[in-house]
Each structure stands twice: as C-alpha cells, then as structure tokens.
Amino acid sequence: MADHAFLRMEDIYKEFPGVVANDHIDLSVNGGEIHGLLGENGAGKSTLMKILYGLYTPDSGEIYLGDDRLELDTPQDAIDAGIGMVHQHFKLIPRLTVAENVVLGQREPAATFRADNDDSRLPESIRNNRVVKSLAETFSLGLDAPEQRIQELADQYGFDIDVSANVADLDVGQQQRVEILKALYRDVDLLVLDEPTAVLSPTEADRLFDSLSRLADEGLSIIFITHKLGEVTAIADRVTVLREGRRVDTVPVAETTQADLAELMVGREVLFRIEKDDAAHGDPVLEASGLRADDDRGIESLSGLDLTVREGEVVGIAGVSGNGQTELAEALAGIRELTDGDLRIDGADLTGASPRAFVDAGVSFVPEDRLRYGCAEELSVLHNAGMKAYREDRFADGPLLDYDELGRYAESLVEDFDIRGVSDVTDIDAGDLSGGNLQKLILARELDRDPDLLIANQPTRGVDVGAIEFIREAILEQREQGTGVVLLSEDLDEITDLSDRILVIYEGEFVYETTPENADRERLGIEMTGGRVADEPADAVNSPEAVAPTAATDGAESTDSTADVAAAGDGD
C-alpha cells in the first residue's frame, strides 16, 4: 500500500520495561499530505514520533524517506534527513532573538565572508579558503542574510513575525510559528507537529491550519498529532488511529465521520465490569462555583467551573488530557491558586486557604503525577505512608514522633492494600516500587484518613492490570462509606463504571453532563474531543472566550524518568 508513500515507517516495535509502547506499527505519509495521527494518551503517538526524530531507537522496524532507508540515532540525523519537528514544549531560547533561534547551530558567517555575497569586498578566493571559511563560521555571525530569508519564509506563509524580536516577547502562537520557521529554514521535507493546538486559542489554531494548508500545497508532508477530532477532520487528508500501542486503522478523512473516529480511538472493549450498589447521596461536601485558575504558564485553563459533590457520590470528569483536569484537581486539593471563584468543603469556605487547611478539612488527593506531588521517591515507604498522618496525635510520643508506631501504621497499609515489594517499610524507598504498587501506597495513605472528599486524578494511569481493579474497588468502597469523590480520568470505562454522574470537560469548561445509565460512548467521545454534534448548538462546545489550556504541565514531563510512566504517559 505504501509503495508511493514519501515516508514509510514499517513494523516499528518499541518496548519499555513492562510496557509495549509501539506494537508493530506501520505508518505511511504521502508527499504534500497532511496526515493526522490520532490517539488517546498512552496510545503510542509520541513514542512513534520520537523514534522518527531520532530521540528513541526502535527495538525493530525500518524507516524510509523517499528512497533512502534512514538510520536515526540523534535528532541531528533526522534534521539532516529533512525531518523537522515542532515539539509541544517549544525548543526555543527565550533570551535570544527569532533569527538567532532559527540559525543556532547553522554557523552562518558574517555577510563579508558569505560565499553567495556578490557585494563583498573580499575576493571570492579568500572567502572560499577553507581556513578563512571555518574561522568566519566560528568567530563571526551574520544575521542579515538569514533574517532576510526568514522574513521571506514568514511572508510566504503568512506569519507575522519580527525576526529581530526576542522570543521571550512573543506570544505562544508566534513562538510556534518560530518553531515552524526553524524547520523550514532547514529545508525540511517532512514536518511533525506534536499537538500543536494545545497551546493555541481557537483563532490562533485556525491561523495555524491556514498556514499548514499552504505548506502542504507547496509539497511539504506534515504529520499532525492530536487527540481532537475536529482538528483532524478540519485539516488532515488521511488519519492514522493508534490505540494501546497498535495501529487501529488508516482512513481518508473524506470517507469517515467524527463518530467513526471516536469509536476507533476510544475502542469498545470493556476491561472490567464492576457491580456497584446504589448509594444514598447526602449533604454536599464540595461546593465550587465559578472556579477560574491558570496553568503553570499563566494561561487560563479553568474558565468558570461549577461543581457540587455530595456525600457518597462519585462525580466522574471525562476529558482528553490538557483540558483543565490537572488544574481542576490541584485547585480542589488546595495546591493551585484560584484566580476567581468560591470553594467550600463541608460548608466551610476554603477559598484561598493553605494546602494544610484542605488536608485538615478532610480532603484527600491522589495526584496524576505521582512522582511530583504524590510521594518522595528517595524516602522510605514509612515516610511516604505517613506523609499526612504524621501530625496525628496517635503518632505523638511526647514531643517526639513515634516512628515505631508510624512503622506499624505503614505496615498495616501495606498489608491492607496488598502493596507488593515491601519487605521492610523503613528500608524500601517509594521509588523502588512499581507504578501500581506506588499508586496503591498513595491511595492507601489517602483513603485511610477516612476523607470527606477524595480527588482522584488518573488513579489507574500507568498501573498494571491487577492493581487497576483493586484501585477501582477501593474507590467504590470509599463511596459506600459516604465519601464524596471527584474522579478525573481519560479512561471512559473507568468513568462509566465508577461514577454516579458524568461531566465532560473541554477547554476548561464542563460541556456535557450525563449519567452512566444514559451515557453513550460515541457521544462522550465526540464531546471530549470537541467534535460537533448535530443537535447541539455549536457555541456550547466551542465557546468563543475559552482559551485553550495546555496539554501537560511541566510536572508531567518529570514522570518520564520512570519507564513505565514514560511509556504510559507518552502523550505528553
């Protein structure tokens, strides 16, 4: 099928300890084509692209560009082969100018020494002398000619960029255009964009699509990674859908619908069926209204959310990563500052209170980024088990902390939650545990406090199958004891199995509410990805004032250090 394709990735296989990130994936992209790469977090999109860009070496598989077979060991190899990549976290140096960022590493000599400068006062023979040339490339820097060329490229594709401005002074949309210019300046034939709209507002995204179409018309091949259906149908020619490390299908966009794509992407099989009893819902434990908050880069990512959770109620919040879940969870746990809105726990106003006040009010938090917020890797299981409980009176021994008691407590958690690999709670560090066991430890610590409100963000991400079931059971058990639960997950099965009520979050707003009984997977899939539904007014989905949130916090990146999380969370 791929005989005429420009890029062919064949039978790519990549395994991280414990996880197969790419399971024999084929991908082919034609010349001048915009090719969508669609999949949920952890589907293997980013791993595949990192392989294409020389950041990872595949365990097996081959890559052809044009007629050449590529050996990509470093990004430089990829650049040399004509592959450019626009990362989600821009690779730009803010303190340097646009032109400096673009030419960095290209060794552009000063104008006088340029071989192609006919006005130079230096005779050509001197300019072409190897020693002179290398000295000029090292100890001079000519930005005039490059600036001119960058400006031409920018004009050609409708980018309004001041080439001599500092990158720090540009907005994100402009910075992204600089990234594209960097690739174009290096004469790439294939451009990969990793979730390029995650940082853009809808208008900026439209401008980007415009530019990409023009680039494709010029013959550039483009791979466009996304998990938003609307974007794929708006811009791509063909789309390849990945799920759980495998290629599900490659289809021409003209021959498919958003509903089909949602189904391909989210899948149908249900891993677990959990029976849950009807629980009586009591008084509200969480009342939040008009919540607004910024992400780490200062871009608004919660745009006025209202949320009430009652005792014994599980509210599932479905959405594709980067739509404000991280910020919502952190705001509810008291560790992200609100820019507006009110927050009440058990009727008490905790707006603007310290994290300590939230802990004391009975809020428990299972963070999405276990290694950043959930534990201290280099400390023992005892320390991590006691991370919040150490203040309790039962561990006080006069002025001292009763480590023996704390040890017994940690041991009891290890026992009750079946945490494996802990021979000695003082000797084994949290970082020694597998992802699933670490998550069980965190959950054990948070649930044992008998919280009034549990915030669980992606509680089963990167966790092995056995632990997933255990964790879900534990959450339901908590519900029966009257705890209000906010469950944020990208896993629709998890949401529908555990929740009493489902809210869909998209670009920092709740766009849809339903119950598990009435939930329609396809509809949820479309709502989560910002797709349009015929009977829904368009502005309910794509609110004009909504500013797009970013897809991942910086913290998510730090999880890459552990292989299983890196593979599972490779959507970053």
């Binding site: 006040a357 320390h383 991370m387 902390l401």
Partner: protein, 361 residues
C-alpha cells in the same frame, strides 16, 4: 572505537555507600604519598606520625578533640540545611558573627561565670542565626539563590570582624588587631582530658540535631521538604517555615562554634582567628550527610587531619600547605566518587557503527 555508556543507578548498592568514603580517603592519601616521596620523606612513617602518633598520645587526642569542636558545630550548620535541600556555604560568616557577639558579651557584661557563659553562648547563637536567616528568608520569600547570598554574607562578616578588632572592640592596651583577653569568668572551663566544655556543647548539638531530624515531626517535615518540596506542600507542610528553621538553627550552631573557639581556646577575638572552619564544614557535611552522628565522625576525622598534619609537618619539615592540599584532594576524590555511585559506567571496545554510546564521549 571506545564507547562509554552511562546509566543512572536506580539503587545505590549498600556496600558502595560505605566503601566510597574509605576508598576516597585512601586514594587521596596515595596522592599525598607521591608528594611525600618527592620530598624524600617515607609516606608510611609520615602517615604513622600523622595518624598513629596523634591518636596514641594524650596530647594528640586532646588537640584533636579541641579542633573537632568548631568543625563539628560548623559541619552541623551545613548539614541541617542540606537535609531540607538547601546549601549553606556561609557557615564561616555565621561562625565569625557568633564569635563577635559572644566575645562582646564576654568583654562587656559582668556576671558570674555560670550566668555569663550561657549568655555568651545565647548571644553567639543568635548572631549566627541572624546572619543565616537572611539567605534563608530571601530564598523562602523570593527564591533568591541561598548559595550565593550565604557565601557573600561570609565576606561581609569577615570584613566586619576585621573592622571591629581594629576599632570599637580593639584591645585598648595595645595596637594589635585583636580584642582584650576574656576574663576568667568568660572563659569556658575545662571539661575533661584537657578539653574545654565546648566539646559538651558540640556533642549536645549533635544529639539535638540527631533527635530533631530523626525523631520529631519537624524532622519528618525537614526530610520531606528536602526530598520533594512539591509533595510536601501538597501534604500541608510549610516550605517557608522549614527553610527558615534549618538555616536559623544551623546558623546558631555555627555561632556556637565561633564562641567556643574564642572562649574555650584562643581567649580573645583576633582578625583571621579561624582557619576556614566554615569552609571545611562543607565537605564534613557532605561526608556525613546521612546523619548527624556521621557529621560528628567526619568532624573528628578532619580534626585529626589538621592536628596530625601539623605534627607531621613539624616532625619531617613537610610544609603545612601539603596537609591543606591533602584535604582538598580527599574532598575532590569524594565528589568524584559520588559520580560512580550514581552512574554505571561501562566502557565498551566495540566495532564502529555498532556503538550504542550514551550521552558522553
């Protein structure tokens, strides 16, 4: 083609933790041996004088303990912030501040010894804590790098000391850059074996630090903030409080080191009275970073190095600077060893093109 492959160790083997300092010290001594041979001195004999004779003689032991007092206290001043993930390289300045404040009280307040000495210690501790509090506050409040500020404040303290002993605090009976002699009431009495009672202060400080870090809720918080301040915050711990606390307590210890050196040994404050205890404290804290007890042992070892070094230099006419070099070498080897603790290094001799080289070449 030679490829060097680096991989971070996930777990540091236990034996490596203990073997590292030992091997390090041996390697540094081996380097020193080369220098000794060049000077025509037998390294074995010289090292025997340095370590053996010092440890076997009463005088040597006493001197070592006396030297260890400021080193241990200053070591704790670096160690405690290190536990919370901060770097206090200004123990030298805090030590000098403590010496100034304690000496001033000793010279200007008339009280019986039982009251005067504690007052001097309190003043010294407060002064050290004050100077250490500045970088801590700047870090906790605005994230101003505490390494730089604590270092710069050291030089401020040194200049201030130099000013005081030539000005307001100068001995009125002479023209030398030092203060008057402390009275008998302001002198720390001998505790045991000819060692002044500052040793007791140091041992108590070690015990207090040990208990604080290992046995209390505050210590739990210090450890947690040091290991992961984001998780600590989520758990409701206050980074601001912890940062201030470790620096203030550490600075107080450094201040105590200063006054015990003056009131216990030297009798008066003079310009340049301390031969860089505060800087030696950095490797002491590094060597002993696992616990306050280890800091004490490292302090004793460096004291032995100082004392033994000077006996060696007297006995063999070896320059005292050689001992200084030896110390620096031990520390440099030590930080080199840290690398091998953290990374596996595989050197592969393999065919070109097949090299799975790591980041380093």
């Amino acid at each position: 083609m030679v490829g060097i492959d680096l991989t971070a160790r996930e777990n540091v083997p236990r034996w490596l933790n203990y073997a590292t300092p030992v091997v390090t010290i041996l390697l540094a001594l081996a380097c020193g041996a080369v220098a000794l041979l060049a000077l025509g001195v037998s390294p074995l004999a010289a090292y025997w004088t340095m370590f053996g004779d010092t440890l076997l003689s009463t005088f040597g032991r006493t001197q070592t303990l006396i030297k260890a007092v400021p080193l241990i206290l200053a070591g704790l001043a670096v160690y405690l912030p290190l536990r919370a993930g901060l770097f206090n390289i200004g123990a030298e300045g805090q030590l000098v501040f403590g010496a100034i404040a304690g000496t001033w009280i000793g010279l200007n307040v008339e009280l019986p010894s039982v009251l005067l000495l504690p007052l001097m210690f309190v003043a010294a501790g407060t002064a050290g804590a004050f100077l250490a509090g500045i970088p801590a506050w700047l870090r906790a409040k605005w994230d101003v790098n505490e390494i730089i500020t604590s270092l710069l404040l050291t030089f401020v303290a040194l200049q201030l000391q130099s000013y005081l002993v030539r000005g307001p605090m100068q001995d009125p009976t002479g023209n030398f850059p030092h203060t008057a002699q402390l009275s008998a009431a302001a002198t720390i009495p001998e505790a045991l074996l000819g060692v002044h009672a500052g040793l007791i202060v140091a041992v108590v400080a070690v015990a207090v630090t040990y208990v604080l870090v290992r046995k209390t809720g505050l210590g739990f918080e210090i450890t947690f903030v040091g290991a992961n301040d984001a998780a600590a915050r989520q758990a409701g711990m206050s980074r601001f409080k912890i940062y201030l606390l470790v620096f203030v307590i550490g600075g107080a210890f450094a201040g105590l080191a200063g006054i015990s050196e003056i009131a216990g040994l030297q009798g008066r404050l003079r310009a340049g009275f301390e031969p860089g205890y505060g800087f030696t404290a950095i490797p002491i804290a590094l060597l002993g970073r696992n616990s306050a007890i280890n800091v004490m042992l490292a302090g004793l070892f460096f004291a032995l190095l100082f004392v033994g070094g000077s006996s060696m230099s007297v006995a063999y006419g070896v320059p005292a600077a050689l001992v200084e070099i030896l110390q620096a070498l031990i520390i440099l080897f030590l930080i080199t060893a840290e690398f091998f603790k953290r990374y596996h290094v595989d050197i592969e001799f393999d065919r070109a093109g097949d090299a799975a080289t790591g980041g380093e070449a």
